[in-house]
Every structure is written in structure tokens, then in C-alpha cells.
Point group: C2
Amino acid sequence: MSTPLVSVADARRPLHAGVDVGGTTIKIGIVDDLGRTLGATKIPTADETGVPDAVRRIAAALRSLADERRIDSGDVVSVGLGTPGTMDIPAGLILEPPNLPGWRHFPIRDALAEACERPVTYANDAGAAAYGEFWVGAGREHRSICLFTLGTGVGGGVIVDDVSIDGAHSHGAEFGHVVIDTTAEARRCSCGKPGHLEAYASATALVSIVRERLAAGEPSSLAGIAADSLTALDVAKGAEAGDALALRLIDDLAVRLGLGVATVTHVIDPEAVILGGAMNFGGAAHPLGQRFLARVTAEFRRLTFPVQAARTALLFAALGGDAGYIGAAGLARLNHRNQAS
Amino acid sequence: MSTPLVSVADARRPLHAGVDVGGTTIKIGIVDDLGRTLGATKIPTADETGVPDAVRRIAAALRSLADERRIDSGDVVSVGLGTPGTMDIPAGLILEPPNLPGWRHFPIRDALAEACERPVTYANDAGAAAYGEFWVGAGREHRSICLFTLGTGVGGGVIVDDVSIDGAHSHGAEFGHVVIDTTAEARRCSCGKPGHLEAYASATALVSIVRERLAAGEPSSLAGIAADSLTALDVAKGAEAGDALALRLIDDLAVRLGLGVATVTHVIDPEAVILGGAMNFGGAAHPLGQRFLARVTAEFRRLTFPVQAARTALLFAALGGDAGYIGAAGLARLNHRNQAS
């Protein structure tokens, strides 16, 4: 994990724990009241062993982490938990997350609260990541942000003035399911509907599109990779090495994403739009990432109003894979403060 | 105006005034702390006389209204003001509203506060209407709503837990500028961009589309009306009388709106979506309005997730043309309460 650690002596109390459940890994961290990480760890999700076992393992990992870092566990006053949907946030329920086939219909929030003997704040994983970026990441100087998480799928989070827009049915900020193509040739989303952003701007979509072009005989250095083993990282590497097809398809993806950003901006009008997730093509430090962000930004500006074209910041996320547990801890902190006041 | 009046004796104090500026008329009302109207009036906008004159006339109309209804003006503690954009809400500035050519770059909030000797809360007109419907209208039993205002143009408002999503640049909830058509034949919006909802679901758009079909020789009873004088009301009347072209084009409009509702719902996920504005085809009390709402709802349900298809309420607005001043007064009340606490 990339976030620099703050020492126990320097930490501002109270402390908060954050848990970010992914399809393969659960990330767990303890952060201070300023959002700085004191320690972090990860354990396998191993969803086939069921949620009760995962809850026990999370609680045990948190205790070990506190011991290792010599944190007085009494200083950790609350826990934040982010999981992928579907879910019922107010009820604290896991429903039917497609990425966690072994986790179905379970009151995970209350089970974790019992195991940790702490109040648990429950959030969508992308909503937690958005709060992390808002609190101490790329959005820390902004009062409202929209985070697009570009990975296997496309997720989103909206934070306005310290409030996460979770939605009335825990389906807020489903940016992957904004319609960006209404033509007859629109690609079909993993959810089954045509023309959704996720069918163009996810790693899965990029790989599918590249495979189709290769199968159609378009020349590319990627033709040397077996079609089943091709990944989005291969496509990015191809583009970095100058492969014209890979570059063109990443440019196409950027243009599609620009329309999605414009539509979301016309609903929320945030101060900043942040692009997070693994599909960042190296991010701001790499020429390919710079080119990608520049093309998303150009298309967004072409499609939006003058004031937003001039003022809305488009940024890469700053916290990488740590955004989820930091944001979950931040949401737990908000609840702790609201209950204390 | 249709809202029943509450008597001064029965009113719950404190009272709040609301001002809703439209292209031709300014509506002004005084409401009690439960959102019930004590009295309302209207004056011409007459934007050619400029904003300072309008501010004087609004303040005078408010004093007359209080006198007529024997309201102790000391009971009216705050004023809410809604105007059409463009605007800078935090700064209290009118910028360049297309519908008010005589109103340009003026600090209307502070000028009205000085003229009324009351704090003024400033809002977008559609945002104010959304708050009105949320507070005491069709959304009164819901914790979050999106209001689509279907009139000359298409506007919107988002209220989540008593907070209006105004946007960082006063461009929140611009539902008219959500993209719903990415085909080569996409219609152009009044803002100049292609495929926006406003280019399909506004009264202006409906009239344009009908005119094009008539010019192409499609048979219709509407062919008897001179093309320049045709209105959306004529189209609605034709549909009510069984004109096949009018019915088909209103059905098409409903399907386009259904996609817009789905996209907005995938960003906000409100408890209820409310359709307001004059383009309601008679609303819930008329067969044409019922047919319209049923078709919008069917398309929305086809395009969204199962939980939202089952649970998101689609409703016509309840306050008609009074929503704007009631909501502006409600937003003023919120600020008054926040400052008092």
C-alpha cells in the first residue's frame, strides 16, 4: 500500500478503522482523525467460506494490526465498512453482490459491529472510495466531487458538502449505468441493458473491444497475445509501446468517458470529477495517463456549459487502492462526530 | 392560483415569503411554517424595466399582500427568491438568464434583502419548485426527490434529505441537458449541443417535431392550424380528440423522457421522481396525462435496475404554478432555522 504511515505518537485521536471488501482481497486500515494511516493490512476475501467467517477474520486482523502497531485498541472508536453492491445500506445488509457469489443476504454491518465491539458505518465500496478521495485525496480542496471508479466494472460516488449520495435504494452514483450510446450498435452492459458507460469504459469492455478488432484482422502487436489471456494492462502496455490499435481504442474509451462525465456533471455539477480505479493508464505521472486524461477532459469540455468547461476540475485519484478503507474510516468518523455532538 | 389558503388565525408562525420569477410573471406568496399559503399575488416581470425596478415592485407587492391579508409584517421573518439561470447562487447574482434579456449581471439577492429588510435565500427556479414539491407537494412523504420541470424548456431539481443539490457552479440538476440521443440524427438543444432531453421533451421541441411531420405531409387534424401559431396545448387537445399523429408524438416524447428519468435515477437514486411544469397533458386527472405518465414509467422501468423499477415512485407534481414561491419560502425557512439553532 502506498499511503505513508503516521506514527502512533503523532496521531490525532480518536482513531477509526476502515474495511474495504473487494472480490479477491479485503483491505483493512486504522487511520487517525486527520485521515492519516497508522497501519494497514490485507486478507483474502475467500468468499466461498461465507460472510460469518469473513467477519471473524476481519475482526481478528484488526486486533492483530492494532497490536503490531502498538495502538491502544481503546483509541479506535468506530469502524467503517465498504462492500460492493447490491446492498441495503440503511439496513446494513449484503444483498447479492455479483463479485461475491458466496455472500448472499447477510446482516454484515451488525455482525461486524458485534465482532469488533464497535459501531460500524456501512457504505458502498465506490461511495467509501469517493469519501476517501474527498477527505484526504484528490478532492481534499473541493466541497463536492464525483468519483468514477474504472476497473473490472465502472462504479461511482458522489460527495456533496461531506454527504455521500448513497441513493434511496443504495443505487446512487451508478455511473457505469449512465447511457452513453443510443445507436442500434450499442454494446450491451453486464447488467443486460444496451449503451451503458460500463460497456465502454471498464477493463472488461476494453479487452472485449480489442479482441473483436483483432478477430476482425486489424493489425496490432497485441495479436501476439492469446485472446483469452489478454488483459487491459496488455492493451495499456501496447499503447505505451506505440501500438496504433491500442492507442486508438484507448482514445475511443476516453471520448466515451467524456460523455459520461458530462452527463453526470449536468446532474450533480461538482467542483471536481475524479477518475479512480486501476484503469488509469499510469495516471498523471505517465504520458499515456496524461493523454487519456487530456482526451476525457477535451470531450467533457466540448459537451458541457462554458462555466463548467472553464471551472470543473478533472483529476486522477490520489489514494490508489487505499481510498476505500480510508473513506470507510472517514464515514465512520462522521457518524461518530454526529453522535457525539 | 390553486393552493387553498390558511387563515391568519390558524397559521403556524414564523411566516416566510416566497418569490418566483418567470419570463412573464413574478409570483409572490406568504406561507406559514407548515408550508401553507396565507396569500399570494402576481406582478408582471416586465424585464425591460430592469432588475432594480423589479426589486422595488416585488417589495411593494409583498407589503400590499401582507396588508390585504392583515398579516403582521413582523411575523414574516425571511424571504426566498427563485430565478431562472444562469446565476451564481452563493454570490446572489443574476448572470445571463436567456428568458430575461433585460436582467443581466445584478446582485439581486442583496438588493431584494435591502428592499424587504429581511434576509433573502436565493435559489434556481426549478430548485425552488423541487423544494416546494418535496416540502408540501407530491414529494412530501419522500426523503429524496428529483423534479423534472417540463415547460418551454426542461429544468430540474434534486432534493436529498432537505438539501437542494444546487451544484458548485449553480448548474446542478440540469436535466434538460442530459444526453438521450447519440445517433447521427440527434436533435439540437437550445444550448447548441446535440441529443439533449430538452430537444425532445420540452413544449418547444414537441411543437417543432409536430411542425416537421406536418410539413412532411403526415395526415393530422393539426394541419388545420397555422404552423406559426401551433402550441403544445393544441397538440395535447388534438391527442385528446384522437388525432393519431399527436398521440404518437406524445408517446414518443414519453419514451424519450423515460430514458432521461432512468439516467438521472442512476446518478441520484431518489425515492420519487416528480414530473412538473405545464407539459403534463392534464396530469393525473386526465386520461391523456395518465397515458403519458404510464408510458414514461414503463420505459423507465424497462431501463433501470429491478429494485428501482419496483420501488421508485413516478408522480405528477401537486402544487402546479405555486411550487416555486412555496419552495423558495421553504428554503428561506431552512436557512432561518439553521441560523436560529
